[in-house]
Symmetry: C2
Subunit: 423 residues, 2 copies
């Protein structure tokens, strides 16, 4: 695997190239019940923070959504087991540089050691510590370095270290990613804010999708889990960079319960309507930032599919188009190559009929009902392709199913990041 | 879409780069009942042949396998309809440069015009003319140029123009692809030979997978179709360049019936055992040539999956690995990154267990039963990665299912060919 010196060099090289799709980190103010911080533990990277800890107020409830990959990392195993035993959390420990995946019993032991060390500092049970790791697969993690760095990191936790935490979890990302939303529960304002990282859906040397969201609301764990599952379904599950689902993908939502709103029933219900909407919106914001910072991305692509047999069908069609190397390279080349979209729709394995299929790019319908639009003028579409935000619309003309998926283009930068280790 | 001058320049640029994976065209000798030729019709390309015609002896039977893409090209529609009416063929007309896909009624009319023109020259019914087109999608084809070039082309058909035909159907391919096999039917030797093109599974501007195989055997159409379907299943259906299934993929098999062997029963049966084996072997040879000439390919990759729950499951796992951009870029970078293989296996949606999973590259088992092999030495694997033929073995440790898939790496060359139109 690539030595860390090369990794750092590559990372720096990518940063200096300056993504045109960068989104500035919003102001992340203190949130009642959350203290956090970052440290440089030297697990893999040198000269940067790579370890993040978050301490949560007593009584914090937690919800989690994890990768469906059948070869999950040890931290994913740990979290799943911990959440089965209880839906309370007091801390999160996140490291970048080593994913602790495919590491067998040694990897499982490393998660236990980490959770126990954090639990002792916080004064809680190990199973109240959530874990996440991102980085290289198959290498034994230097858990001794991680544990050695924890006491000083814990001693320095602060309410206002959100940006440090958002930066400390990055791998090949070129910018930190955060979002804030407000919602009302029973007439009382609550805050939701979080941060995440990409930047391939997976790049086992360097990346994995991790997301951490916090709210001061007081929400029973069942309702919290339901809200998170719904929000992830229309955000991170609608984002793809390279189709390579990570072994470590993790989204955690913590509710510290510090806000003084009326009591939320266990099932959530109508009282959480605003909260759920704000959460879904926040997750969609973060998910789009991941696509914008896809490895090597120069164009952000939004794909809207309508007229499908069902919403699920629409999403599968949108994903096949979003993951088509030929569509992605066409966008990279700023080429309005709708023929490649036709081909991708046709091979998606979903109900589709060539003769009712219509396609638009940048709002211009270039193909309608199975053939090119009479007098189609490519000029405005070519102009749209020169921008950094590409909008593709596909109407299957069959039913009422619809979906939106976000992705990015496939460029030389992606190859540079993922192939050029030896050059 | 890219003007033809640029296309030609790109094509030439790729050719001059010299694929390390090139396979020399074998000697293709005359085959009884087949006359063929190529001409420059100027449909899209300038200064090269782009139109191929084959005339077949009276009584020739035909079998076909076509794309499963739901947006098939007009020639695929034509062939399907023709084969429904009868399993005899007297001619094939193939053009490169325009795929005649997503062209609506005009496209359908173009296929009829072409078939009628060829039928008149040959003296057969239009439905005895098979068609195939490869090239740009969505542009109306210059069928007038095609038809105008047919009489002279037909007049010059010859028994020994196999290489000209193999070259005339190419698009982004860097070398012509052909194969020959012998088989025995009832003690009499018969010949099978054919040619095909790639070179992305699809690249709508330039490519589509087309394959034409001929035999002098006399085989009833049902048995011919069964043999072809079986052979395609273990050859072209096990090959992937970029996962983008074409709108035009076509494999046609013609049996001219000129060989003097005992009569083959309608269902084929044991008498065709040797023929079927030779056909499958020939198709596998051609399919591997397509992967070797994948757009931008620098490494040919063979992926063997064993220990799967079923053969189908093994193939799906192998395909996900073969299509993983991260695995393909790792091979391009000559990086023995088995962590990416683990991740791809895990997301394939097939039965898999991290703790029984083993992985080898170049015959060296680097990971066994869910963790890295004790004392794993990367040196011999790194040496293997520097070669042009990469062998990946994956043992799922679950059952007896197995499959082999062939692919190539994902390189800057692929991006050059598919994205750099405007640079």
């Amino acid at each position: 695997m690539a030595p860390s010196a090369k990794s750092a060099a590559k990372s720096a090289a990518k940063k200096s190239s300056g993504s045109p799709l960068c989104v500035p980190l919003p102001e992340l103010l203190p949130l009642a019940g959350v203290r956090l911080g970052a440290a440089a533990a030297g697990i893999r990277y040198q000269g940067r923070t790579d370890l993040v800890m978050v301490e949560l107020a007593a009584g914090t409830t937690v919800a989690g959504v994890f990768t469906r990959n059948k070869c999950p990392g040890a931290p994913v195993d740990w979290n799943r087991a911990a959440l089965k035993k209880g839906r309370k959390a007091r801390a999160v420990v996140i490291n970048a540089g080593n994913a602790n995946v495919f590491t067998g019993k040694i990897g499982a032991a490393a998660t236990r050691t980490t959770a126990e060390a954090a639990a002792e500092l916080v004064g809680c049970k190990p199973r109240e510590v959530m874990l996440a790791s991102t980085g290289v697969i198959g290498e034994v993690m230097a858990v001794d370095k991680l544990v050695a760095a924890l006491p000083a990191l814990h001693g320095a936790l602060a309410e206002d270290s959100w940006e440090a935490a958002a930066r400390g979890i990055l791998t090949t990302d070129t910018f930190p990613k955060g979002a804030v939303r407000k919602a009302s529960i029973g007439g009382v304002e609550v805050t939701l804010q979080g941060f995440c990282k990409g930047s391939g859906m997976i790049a086992p040397d360097m990346a994995t999708m991790l997301c951490f969201v916090f709210t001061d609301a007081k929400i029973p764990p069942e309702a919290l889990q339901a809200a998170l599952a719904k929000g992830v379904d229309t955000s991170f599950n609608c984002t793809t960079v390279d189709s390579d689902t990570s072994t470590s993908d993790t989204v955690l939502l913590f509710a510290t319960g510090q806000a003084k709103h009326p009591r939320v029933p266990a099932e959530g219900g109508a009282m959480l309507r605003g909260f759920r909407a704000a959460l879904s919106d926040l997750l969609a914001d973060l998910a789009q930032q991941v696509a914008r910072d896809g490895e090597g991305a120069r164009h952000f692509i939004r794909i809207d599919v309508t007229g499908a047999a069902s919403n699920g069908s629409a999403r599968r069609v949108a994903k096949v188009v979003a993951e088509s190397p030929l569509v992605k390279t066409a966008v990279a080349g700023e080429d309005a190559n709708w023929g490649r979209i036709v081909a991708a729709v046709g091979r998606a394995g979903e109900p589709a009929d060539r003769d009712t299929l219509s396609i638009a790019i940048g709002g211009v319908w270039m193909a309608r009902n199975g053939t090119v639009v009479d007098g189609y003028d490519e000029a405005p579409v070519a102009q749209h392709m020169k921008g950094h935000e590409i909008h593709i619309e596909i109407d299957l003309g069959l039913g009422r199913g619809k979906a939106t998926v976000w992705t990015c283009d496939l460029t030389h930068g992606y190859i540079d990041i993922n192939a050029d280790y030896r050059s």
